[in-house]
């Protein structure tokens, strides 16, 4: 019990002590807690900062690498583009060179070809010279022809005059006008008069000019005209007695075109021509001209046995083996062989075509 009393006396102290020590410790505890908190937070802060620093460093590396990658990519693109541009420029430059050459060539060859043009101009001048020459020749020729025609006309006039004056020819007794005895030689007219034939009396009438309209009417009527004579029948002749056929019938009959009979229309060697024609058709139809030969060689082994007539040495018999005409051409009188001619009969060749109506069923 004493202990208990001691304890109880102590317990109040204990209590106080206990409370006092707890409260002091509490006070310290709070402080120490706060201090520990501070230390911890600081330390944690340091940790985090280190970590963050570390992260920054790492992120910088990553970013560095990433940016370098992007930059390189960008650079590669730029290089690609620049390369592409450079290539295109080169191509363009080359294309321009080609185009330059080609356009120059084209223009010089097809647009304005200097040498062609020179040739062309030379050809033109040659043509011009040729044309000028030809035209000059033509003009000369025409002049010559005219002069010739003039001379001929003069000649004709002089001839006609000579013929009219033929009586002025000199005779043996009396010298003519152009053959004066005081001249050394006779005048050329004298010779002309000698050669001239005197005009006959008919001449003046025959040379009278027909009235222009009449002859030209005759000359220019169309082909369906009757044959012309220089004198027409007198107008006051009696009319011919009729009845007359219709003019269209007459003209149809007159100007009927040629309708030869069959006999005439066929050529004379129609048989020969038909044979040639047939052979030509065969030739055009056939693929090849050799005759088809038998396949088998059965016949090749056969020996040919000539007949008695052919195997004699005196020649074949004349009768029945020759044609009835001799075939040695050197004995022929004419150069050609006879021709085979088929005569045709002209029973119906004039059917319906003759002028008269005889025999027609009306």
């Amino acid at each position: 019990m004493a202990s208990l009393a001691r304890l109880q006396a102590r317990s109040a102290l204990l209590g106080h002590q206990y409370y006092f020590r707890n409260s002091v410790v509490d006070a310290f505890r709070k402080k120490e807690n706060e201090a520990a908190g501070k230390i911890q937070s600081w330390f944690r802060g340091c940790q985090v900062r280190t970590y963050i620093r570390y992260l920054h460093r790492v992120v910088t590396v990553i970013q560095k690498w990433w940016r370098s990658y992007l930059g390189k990519k960008c650079y590669q693109n730029k290089i690609k583009l620049a390369y592409h541009d450079m290539k295109m420029n080169i191509y363009n430059a080359m294309a321009v060179r080609i185009q330059k050459r080609w356009r120059g060539y084209k223009v010089r060859k097809y647009g304005f070809n200097y040498y062609y043009f020179k040739e062309y101009l030379r050809a033109i001048s040659e043509t011009n010279d040729a044309v000028r020459e030809a035209l000059d020749d033509f003009a000369d020729m025409r002049e010559r022809e005219e002069k010739k025609a003039d001379l001929e006309r003069e000649e004709k006039k002089r001839d006609y005059a000579a013929r009219k004056m033929h009586y002025l020819l000199s005779t043996k007794q009396i010298p003519g006008v152009y053959n004066s005895p005081f001249r050394k030689e006779p005048d050329p007219w004298e010779l002309r008069l000698q050669k001239a034939k005197p005009l006959t009396h008919q001449r003046p009438k025959a040379r009278k000019k027909r009235p222009h309209s009449l002859s030209s009417w005759l000359a220019c009527t169309s082909t369906r005209s009757f044959p012309r004579s220089h004198t027409l029948p007198p107008i006051d002749r009696k009319q011919c007695q009729g009845p007359f056929r219709d003019v269209s019938d007459v003209l149809k009959q007159r100007y009927k075109p040629l309708e030869p009979t069959m006999r005439v229309a066929e050529p004379i060697n129609s048989l020969k021509e038909a044979r040639i024609e047939f052979r030509r058709l065969e030739l055009s139809r056939n693929v090849q001209e050799n005759m088809f030969l038998p396949f088998s060689s059965y016949h090749k082994k056969e020996r040919y046995i000539p007949s008695i007539h052919l195997s004699s040495k005196y020649g074949p018999d004349a009768y029945g083996y020759h044609r009835f005409r001799d075939e040695s051409p050197n004995k022929w009188i004419g150069g050609k062989d006879f021709q085979t001619i088929l005569p045709s009969f002209d029973l119906f060749s004039k059917y319906g075509k003759s002028y008269s109506k005889a025999g027609q069923i009306l």
């Binding site: 001048s125 043509t127 035209l135 009527t221």
Partner: protein, 447 residues
């Protein structure tokens, strides 16, 4: 009746009324000879002058003539056609009066007659009617005359061919449709064949017909060319008759002026040389179509202009320019030279070498074309410039007083710009005066 010729009627100016009333009943006479002679007299009266022709029209004679034309013999037809032609030739109104009284159908019927004299008179009358203007030509064409005229051309009579050719030429000259009608009737082939005929008057008409057809359009010109007239036409340029030459060069000009291809064809056939020779051998108005042809050919392209130059065209043209007295021919020649020279400096030099520029300058009238030539020539060629100065050209240019702002002034300015200023001032008029003035106003420096 035969005594009533135009000479006597001259002395009886008031007699025409009386004569008409006398002649008219004679047309209805029983005896055919009297009818024919009356018609002939009327024709001669109307032929003489247009008052008488009007009197014939007013006297109501035409319907009677036309009516009896259908039935009578060929002498009457000839005389009646002569009357119609004599009336129609004076003026379009008279021709219209003839058309109004229905003469065209009868004339066309006469064209089908056998007698070539009747055909000729009828064709002549139709030609005179168609000559005046396009409506009358159209009336003639509507009456169906063109195929008959083409048939007439093929007849052997030379006079009939001439008249038919001149008819076709008169009909086709008015408008492209009429020319097309003539072409559709197949006229070109026959006309082309007749170029070879030796008769000069026929050739005149044929060539004029072809040129009237060819002038309207490119197609018609091509059709004429397809009838193979080249190179036969070139022989016509050597003909002795002046008008044949003129019409041949007209034909070639009408063909050349349409397109460069046609000009090329003519150049290739040697036509340019022939035309140049033809110009050299003619004088006066005959040359004009040839000169214009050269101008047209050169105007199309520079190759053709070069072809003209090497065919020795420029000396010939300059000779023309110097010789010809008439203004319009000179103008045409200057124009042709301008066409040749305007393409490139080469051409211009070829033109300038012939010393033609001073001659051009002296032609005040044709100033525009020559200035055009000079404006093109001078900037290009220094030789030409030198030539220009030494031949006194620049001096003349300064002397030309033109209003400022006009085309001439522009040309003068552009010419002056080709030369350095001192030279321009040297050649300007009054330079010596200005020099003297400066001398006067100059005080010598006295030391």
């Amino acid at each position: 009746m035969h005594s009533l010729t135009k000479d006597q009627l001259l002395w009886i100016p008031n007699g025409q009324a009386g004569v008409m009333s006398l002649l008219r009943p004679l047309l209805l006479d029983v005896v055919p000879t009297i009818q024919q002679t009356a018609a002939l007299a009327l024709g001669r009266l109307a032929n003489y002058n247009d008052d008488l022709a009007e009197a014939v029209v007013k006297g109501d004679i035409l319907p009677q003539l036309v009516y009896s034309l259908a039935e009578q013999n060929r002498f009457y037809k000839k005389a009646a056609a002569f009357v119609l032609r004599a009336v129609a030739k004076h003026s379009p109104q008279l021709a219209q009066a003839i058309v109004d009284c229905g003469a065209l159908d009868t004339l066309v019927i006469c064209l089908e007659d056998f007698d070539p004299g009747v055909k000729e008179s009828a064709a002549w009358a139709l030609g005179y009617i168609a000559r005046h203007n396009a409506e009358l030509s159209q009336a003639v064409v509507d009456a169906g005359a063109v195929p008959l005229l083409v048939l007439c051309i093929q007849e052997p009579e030379i006079a009939l061919k001439r008249i038919a050719a001149s008819d076709l030429s008169d009909i086709s000259k008015h408008s492209p449709e009429l020319a097309q009608t003539v072409v559709d009737a197949g006229a070109i082939a026959h006309l082309a064949q007749m170029i070879l005929n030796p008769d000069a008057k026929l050739k005149r008409q044929v060539l004029s017909a072809l040129s009237q057809i060819a002038k309207h359009s490119v197609d018609l010109a091509e059709m004429v060319v397809e009838a193979e007239i080249f190179p036969v036409v070139l022989t016509c340029l050597k003909d002795k008759d002046e008008y044949v030459k003129k019409n041949a060069s007209t034909l070639i000009r009408e063909i050349a002026k349409h397109t460069p291809e046609l000009s090329q064809l003519i150049v290739n056939a040697g036509g340019v040389a022939a035309v140049i020779d033809c110009i050299g051998s003619c004088k006066g108005n005959i040359r004009l179509p040839g000169i214009m042809m050269l101008g047209y050919v050169a105007a199309h392209s520079e190759n053709l202009a070069m072809a003209v130059i090497i065919s020795k065209g420029v000396p010939q043209l300059s000779a023309c320019l110097s010789e010809e007295p008439e203004d319009h021919i000179k103008a045409a020649t200057a124009w042709a030279l301008a066409q040749i020279g305007r393409h490139t400096p080469e051409h211009a030099r070829a033109v300038a070498v012939t010393n033609i520029l001073p001659v051009l300058l002296s032609l005040y009238m044709s100033a525009e074309s020559s200035e055009d030539l000079q404006v093109k020539v001078l900037p290009h060629d220094s030789k030409a410039r030198r030539l220009f100065v030494t031949s006194g050209g620049l001096k003349k240019v300064q002397e030309i007083k033109a209003e400022p702002g006009s085309l001439l002034q522009e040309y003068i300015n552009s010419i002056n710009n080709c030369y350095p200023e001192e030279i321009v001032r040297y050649y300007s008029p009054g330079y010596s005066d200005t020099l003297l003035q400066r001398v006067d106003s100059y005080q010598p420096l006295t030391n």
